[in-house]
């Protein structure tokens, strides 16, 4: 099990959220559904790899790279 931040995962990769930064933006992400225990998938990235669009709860939400960095995820052992 590897713990990385969500901005580093690759397209179509599904990961589970393990932790969330506690600053205000982190809290806001939590309220948007990025909550520890949930799995998220990187659906697509904009040109230059930023912003990135994640699927969570059947919704696609775009985050900037530095926002995705606040989300700690674990990649399922492949």
């Amino acid at each position: 099990m590897n713990s990385v931040t969500a901005d580093t995962i690759s397209t179509n990769q599904t990961v589970e959220i393990v932790d969330l930064d506690s600053n205000e933006t982190g809290q806001r992400l939590g309220e948007m559904g990025f909550w520890p225990g949930k799995s998220i998938t990187l659906v697509l990235s904009a040109p230059f790899g930023d912003p990135m669009a994640f699927e969570v709860d059947n919704t696609v939400i775009a985050l900037r790279k530095n926002e995705a960095r606040l989300i700690k995820v674990k990649t399922s052992a492949a």
Binding site: T25, G33, A46, P47, F48, P51, A53, T59, V60, A62
Partner: protein, 704 residues
């Protein structure tokens, strides 16, 4: 008490992209009133729904995911529902969720219930949920939440009658509370808070306590008292907030586990495929630019006809009144001041309506969020974000709809920067000015592909873009203390846009412009008209009498005579006096006082420069003919030195001036309306004029 005052107020809430505004329009029709909330730029939209016994007022609150006041939209919702908005007394809350995606909506619902409001939930987009094979046990959901639940497909009008009936019969109920605020802090603390800020509900009191510093509506002394309480009880808002969020999330998950049956197969397949094309890392950008190009082509070409028609209609109206009414100062005020002033407002309506029709279409399909997504990164170094692209590019047609479109930017700083720099984009009103002046620079026709005229035009457009980006970057540095924005943007599923929504948007935006910015525009145009048509004492009559009446009264001679009289008159008017008065200031830019008159008059709108110049240099009624105008201008000499007025240096200096200066009262009026203060339009006008002055000065001094 009048019936209109006693209508109960129902607040309409919901997360973004669930069809809230569609339902609002269905419930209230065009029976809507737009007002202001103090201190924020969000519009307060209230609609009236007729019932069998009277009426109900419905307040369309902005779409938010929760009741935490972080963006302006959220602040408004927070304020209204926490009882902090004076004059708004919410009787019940109707909240709307996307039935095909209930996870997103229920968080907000749990908060509304805890706020203590009688609530009802509408599960909208039932048709889509069915298509996707998603089932919700409505009765169980109703029981678990403790509030009535309706299903609807508001865009097709399905289920709307039932909702209307529920509103009529006051079919709301207080739900089952989810969070007990006493779990987070001492009950006596909440009681003390309620004592200070008059919240009757403990969760409202907790919310006010948590966000006391976000809310400027709370008076400073009360905020200080709340902060003292926070210290006294060692209250930790961050921790409370996190625990609360967690409890709500778990609660929503439990409810959904019981009532929701999701289909096995993955949903939103079509959206995924379309995104694969429209958001392609390489072609996505090209598609975006192509769509924008089409939109602006359409605005330019489709708006032209109606604009010409409006122009000639108002000219006809002026003419008709001047024939019909007895001549006199009042008639002149009407035919030369007020009617052209009104015409100058209405003329913008085709462009505004068309741009918003397209924006509403793009929004309705779900593409707008994608446009923001692919352009966000590119705009960021300039203190702008993906949402700034549409306003800025709209600025090429006209800054006014562009500035109105900046409303979609939720971050205050980014929005202000966008509004601030949009007028730098070369709008269509600059074109006539550029055409005349560039024609003076390069009189000989030249049909090669890279000709001088074309390059000059390109350069002027580039200059505008450059000024916009550099100013934006500068403002980003100055405003670094403002909260910088986050993106966190939902990419909704693609949908078929609703014609009804498109039409309502066109109507609402045009109406807002005409009635709100229109007042200011009319006032300024009347002032400018007075300046140009009156002079001190009988100076204008004297000036006019210096022109000798032609001996042989041929048509042509009389025409000549009349145009010379107009020329003498405007020179003797207050505008002429102001022109002479500013001459020392504009002399270093290469302008004489006659150009000064044109600068003052074209403050109304840039294109007025052309007609004013035509009047001043007595070019007469055929001044519409640009060729003639250019020929005559190039022969013009200065009164003082006898040298040509329009030298290369002067013309370049004028071009640069018009590229930068805020010569458009309508823009000032709309910036005032959109920022809800005179501060921003004033700073903007001073900045743009100063930049124009310095740049023109440099250009003239280098070239002369």
């Amino acid at each position: 008490m009048a019936k209109s005052d006693s209508s109960p107020l129902i607040a309409l809430t919901g997360v973004p992209n669930v069809g809230k505004t569609t339902l609002f329009n269905r419930l209230t029709g065009l029976n809507q009133k737009v007002g202001n909330y103090p201190g924020v730029t969000v519009d307060k939209v209230i609609g009236r729904m007729k019932t069998s016994t009277g009426s109900v007022d419905i307040l369309d609150l902005p779409g938010t995911y929760n009741l935490y006041p972080r963006s302006e939209d959220e602040r408004v919702v927070f304020r209204v529902l926490s009882g902090l908005e004076p004059g708004i007394d919410v009787a019940a809350v109707l909240t709307i969720a996307d039935m095909s995606n209930p996870e997103r909506s229920l968080f907000l619902v749990t908060q509304l219930v805890d706020m203590g409001y009688p609530t009802a939930l509408v599960l909208n987009m039932e048709d889509q949920a069915k298509r996707e094979g998603l089932e919700i046990n409505k009765i169980l959901l109703q029981r678990l939440l403790g509030i009535p639940v309706f299903t609807a497909s508001a865009d097709k009008g399905v289920g709307v009658d039932q909702i209307k009936k529920a509103i009529e019969e006051n079919g709301f109920s207080q739900g089952r509370k989810v969070v007990d605020p006493a779990e987070f802090c001492d009950e006596s603390l909440l009681l003390k808070v309620s004592g200070i800020t008059k919240q009757s509900n403990p969760y409202q009191a907790l919310q006010v306590l948590k966000f006391r510093d976000e809310e400027e509506q709370i008076p400073k002394d009360i905020r200080e008292r709340l902060s003292e309480l926070v210290d006294e009880y060692n209250f930790k808002p961050d921790q409370v907030q996190r625990r609360e969020t967690k409890i709500r999330y778990n609660h929503v998950r439990e409810i959904l586990a019981k009532c929701l049956k999701s289909p096995e197969k993955k949903r939103a397949g079509l959206t995924r495929k379309l995104d694969g094309i429209l958001l392609h890392p390489v072609f996505g950008f090209g598609i975006f630019l192509a769509i924008l190009f089409l939109v602006f082509q359409a605005i330019f070409s489709w708006a032209e006809g109606p604009m010409d028609y409006i122009d000639s209609s108002f000219a006809f109206l002026s003419h008709w009144f001047s024939e019909f009414l007895p001549s006199g100062a009042l008639t002149d005020l009407l035919t030369e001041g007020i009617i052209p002033g009104l015409g100058g407002i209405v003329i913008f309506v085709p462009q505004i309506a068309l741009l918003f029709a397209f924006l509403s279409l793009l929004e309705g399909t779900g593409y707008m969020a994608r446009a923001v997504f692919i352009t966000d990164r590119v705009m960021r170094p300039f203190g702008l974000n993906g949402r700034s692209v549409v306003p800025l590019i709209s600025g090429f047609a006209c800054a006014i709809p562009g500035i109105m479109a900046a409303r979609t930017i939720s971050n205050r700083r980014d929005r202000l920067i966008t509004i601030f720099v949009t007028p730098f984009m070369s709008c269509s009103a600059r074109l006539p000015v550029y055409i005349v002046l560039v024609g003076l620079l390069f009189p000989e026709s030249d049909s090669t592909f890279f000709n001088a005229k074309g390059s000059a035009f390109f350069g002027l457009y580039l200059l505008g873009i450059l000024a916009a980006l550099v100013s934006a970057a500068g403002m980003k540095v100055i405003m670094k203390n403002e909260r910088s924005g986050t993106l966190v943007l939902e990419l909704p599923r693609y949908r078929i846009p609703q014609l009804r929504t498109v039409l309502t948007t066109m109507y609402e935006k045009s109406r807002t412009f005409v009635f709100e910015a229109g007042k200011i525009i009319l006032a300024i145009s009347v002032i400018l008209w007075v300046l140009a048509s009156y002079g001190p004492g009988d100076s204008m009559e004297e000036a006019a009498s210096t022109v000798a009446l032609p001996e042989v009264k041929t048509e042509q001679a009389m025409e000549e005579y009349r145009s010379q009289v107009s020329s003498k008159e405007i020179q003797a008017s207050y505008a002429g006096i102001v022109g002479k008065w500013v001459e020392p200031v504009i002399e270093p830019l290469g302008y004489d006082w006659k150009i000064g008159i044109a600068l003052i008059c074209s403050f109304a709108a840039r294109e007025v420069f052309v007609s004013t110049v035509a009047t001043i240099y007595s070019i007469g009624a055929d001044s519409e003919d640009i060729q003639t105008l250019q020929e005559l201008l190039s022969e013009e000499t200065r009164d003082d030195t006898g040298e040509p007025t329009f030298t290369k240096a002067t013309v370049w200096s004028l071009l640069v001036f018009y590229a930068f200066a805020m010569q458009c009262m309508s823009t000032i009026a709309i910036v005032k309306r959109e920022t809800k203060s005179w501060k921003w339009p004033t700073i903007q006008t001073v900045y743009m004029t100063a930049l124009a002055y310095v740049a023109s000065l440099l250009v003239y001094q280098m070239l002369s």
